[in-house]
Amino acid sequence: MNSLLIFYALFVLILVGVGVLVIYNFIRYRFKDDKTLLFIGLFSLLFVLDIILTLSLFSAVSASTIGL
């Protein structure tokens, strides 16, 4: 179970890196008063919430393993 979590953390780090690259690539062309930061904020929030959801489901599965 722990090795699965390590792989998950590794993939999350890679995806965060890709996300930062994407944001950096676009943010150079942003305009005053445009919606770039709103998009980035919303997607970052969704990203974090998704990690929390996945980890909470995974911890529920782990807890049932301990129970067995």
């Binding site: 179970m1 699965l4 998950y8 890709v18 990203f47 489901l57 529920a60 782990s62 393993t65």
Partner: protein, 225 residues
């Protein structure tokens, strides 16, 4: 430095007023957004279904844990792909100034094409709305035919395409008649489209930041002095 309307593309002159600054209309993105939403929701439902052992008949918790994390990674990748799609769509731009037309196409993540056309080189401008959504929300395609061997410009999913076409054509005709750049002002009832909003007076252009405060066209009286 963050761009603004008076510094919206490389090579913009200091007193170059902007009459059209338009991004694709958001309604045109609904189809793509719906696909991403369905994929994401099904993935989350898959995770929740995995927690219910009766649904997939899997009893090995290692397999369930792996599947939950795999779907989690899939969701995160979907979020990033969706962000790229949103920004790809949002960063397409058409800009019409008192001396040129600029078409900025964000085609892929690292591919940005900027095409420029002098108003004098515009041969004809037409607009087209096609289908129920485009008709209902007043967005469509503006096609700009160019003189000579230059490629035509097709600008898709633009809000108020008729108005954008009329403004571009009017400015082009003024340029061909030899009207000085800093005196060109569209005679159309809507004289500008900035961020999908109709502009009806030079004062509103000034307020939108599309014109220098010292511009002679800021009030109609000054424009003809």
């Amino acid at each position: 430095m963050i761009n603004d309307l008076l510094h919206s593309f490389p090579g913009q002159d200091q007193n170059e007023a902007v009459f059209v600054f338009a991004r694709p209309y958001p309604v045109a993105f609904l189809g793509t957004a719906l696909i991403f939403f369905i994929v994401f929701i099904f993935s989350v439902l898959g995770q929740l279904a995995l927690m219910n052992t009766n649904f997939f008949q899997i009893s090995d918790t290692n397999v369930i844990g792996f599947a939950v994390l795999f779907l989690g990674i899939f969701q995160l990748a979907t979020i990033i792909v969706f962000l790229v799609a949103v920004l790809d769509f949002y960063y397409d731009l058409i800009i019409v100034t008192d001396r040129r037309l600029i078409d900025i196409d964000q085609e892929q993540l690292f591919f940005r094409r900027i095409a420029e056309l002098s108003l004098e080189d515009i041969e004809d401008v037409s607009s087209q709305t096609q289908g129920f959504l485009q008709d209902l929300f007043n967005y469509g395609t503006v096609e700009i035919q160019t003189a000579g061997a230059k490629d035509n410009f097709n600008i898709r999913n633009i809000h108020m395409p008729r108005e954008v076409a009329a403004i571009t054509l009017d400015l082009s005709e003024k340029a061909k008649r030899g009207v000085t750049e800093h005196l060109r002002l569209p005679d159309t009832s809507i004289m500008g489209v900035i961020n999908n909003r109709a502009i009806t007076s030079p004062g509103a252009l000034l307020a939108a930041g599309a014109m220098q405060p010292t511009d002679m066209r800021r009030s109609p009286r000054n424009a003809f002095e």
